[in-house]
């Protein structure tokens, strides 16, 4: 019999650990990844519509709006 076998087994070890708190993002509501994906899509459409109405007539291409939307979406999904 080895020395390790003689050590008592702590059966409450796992229960004693407090559950990890859910990560808190910058959004004012509790979200999961799908909520944040949904918010990103909603914001994507809003950015594109505003871009088409006000910024594209000044000469800026719609692809820039898509790039901004993707960046904002990724940020929201990771940090929201």
């Amino acid at each position: 019999m080895t020395e390790i076998d003689n050590e008592p087994i702590d059966i409450l070890e796992e229960e004693a650990q407090p559950p990890a708190p859910p990560p808190v993002g910058f959004l004012p509501i509790e979200t999961n990844w799908f909520d944040r994906l949904f918010i990103s899509l909603v914001i994507w459409v809003a950015i594109c519509l505003v871009w088409l109405r006000f910024i594209e007539p000044l000469g800026a291409d719609l692809y820039i709006a898509h790039a901004i939307s993707v960046a904002a979406g990724l940020y929201i999904i990771w940090k929201g």
């Binding site: 509501i29 949904f38 909603v42 809003a46 594109c48 519509l49």
Partner: protein
């Protein structure tokens, strides 16, 4: 693992129906929104045109006007329905002679088809034969003509919607009020709270989920109102009652411009989702935060 597979097999007919009748039409309309398609034009082909429909839409004054009058219609109609519906729900919570028959009569508009409601209100508001212009003229000397006055037409469409849909609000709020426990109200009365304080601090927070659900249903219905208004005013006079549903109808069917109509439909769906989501977040979600 085995039972899981059985569950998916049992669910598959429902999922198939949902996919065929929910997902497929939605994605078809979404796909069409990025195309130009007029099957009755000289070139009936479906031609991809990128964001051209949306580019046209954000500058379309007829669409923006429709959006404005629809927002006004939704705000006035839904708020009025909520207030009257709550008051009626409170009234129907009390006992009075003939309560059952009043509740039945009050619920009758709900079972009417919208096109019938439109016809009835058309008959009631036609200047030469309608009871409403007749009575308004007799009692107040007011000449009601919804074919000429934009404000009158707008007001009558709001009143018609309120008449049609308030019973739904009443029924859902009665269900919410009946399920409330008596203890908080008794304790508040013992503590000396008045009726206004009880309403704002106890009743309203406790029935908030039912109120939000009711507002969702009414909001979605009001945003897609077509048949009643089309029957009553035809979207006029001018564009005073050309709500989004009516606008889409007139854009798609007389003009057969399916691509552009699809783009408007997609944007209306988007706006509905955004408004409902903001409402949900504003009224319920912060309370769920731990």
């Amino acid at each position: 693992m085995r039972s899981n597979r059985l569950g998916w097999w049992l669910l598959s007919p429902t999922l198939l129906v949902l996919f065929l009748f929910g997902a497929v039409p939605f994605f078809y309309v979404l796909w069409l929104a990025f195309h130009q398609w007029n099957p009755f034009a000289t070139n009936p082909d479906i031609i991809y045109n990128g964001a051209e429909n949306f580019r046209r839409l954000v500058f379309d004054t007829a669409f923006l006007n429709s959006l404005g009058v629809t927002v006004a219609f939704v705000v006035f109609a839904v708020l009025t329905e909520l207030v009257i519906g709550y008051m009626l729900a409170r009234a129907f919570m009390r006992d009075f002679p003939g309560k059952a028959i009043f509740r039945t009569i009050h619920t009758l508009p709900l079972i009417m088809a919208p096109i019938i409601v439109g016809s009835i209100w058309k008959l009631m508001t036609t200047p030469s034969i309608g009871i409403i212009p007749h009575l308004l003229d007799e009692w107040f000397g007011y000449d009601l003509n919804i074919g000429q006055s934009a404000l009158a037409a707008f007001t009558i469409t709001v009143i018609m919607d309120v008449w049609h849909w308030t019973p739904l609000v009443t029924l859902t709020l009665i269900a919410a009020l009946v399920s409330l426990p008596a203890d908080p109200f008794e304790q508040a009365q013992i503590d000396g709270a008045n009726k206004r304080q009880i309403f704002w601090h106890i009743t309203l927070p406790m029935i908030a989920p039912a109120v939000v659900a009711t507002v969702f249903i009414r909001l979605m219905d009001a945003l897609r109102t077509v048949d009643e208004v089309l029957m009553l005013t035809g979207g006029g006079p001018g564009s005073a009652t050309r709500y989004l549903g009516v606008h889409i109808f007139k854009e798609v069917f007389p003009k057969t411009n399916y691509g552009y109509g699809s783009a408007i439909s997609v944007i209306v769906l988007y706006l509905t989702i955004v408004v409902c989501w903001l409402l949900y977040v504003g009224m319920l979600a912060p309370r769920n935060k731990k």
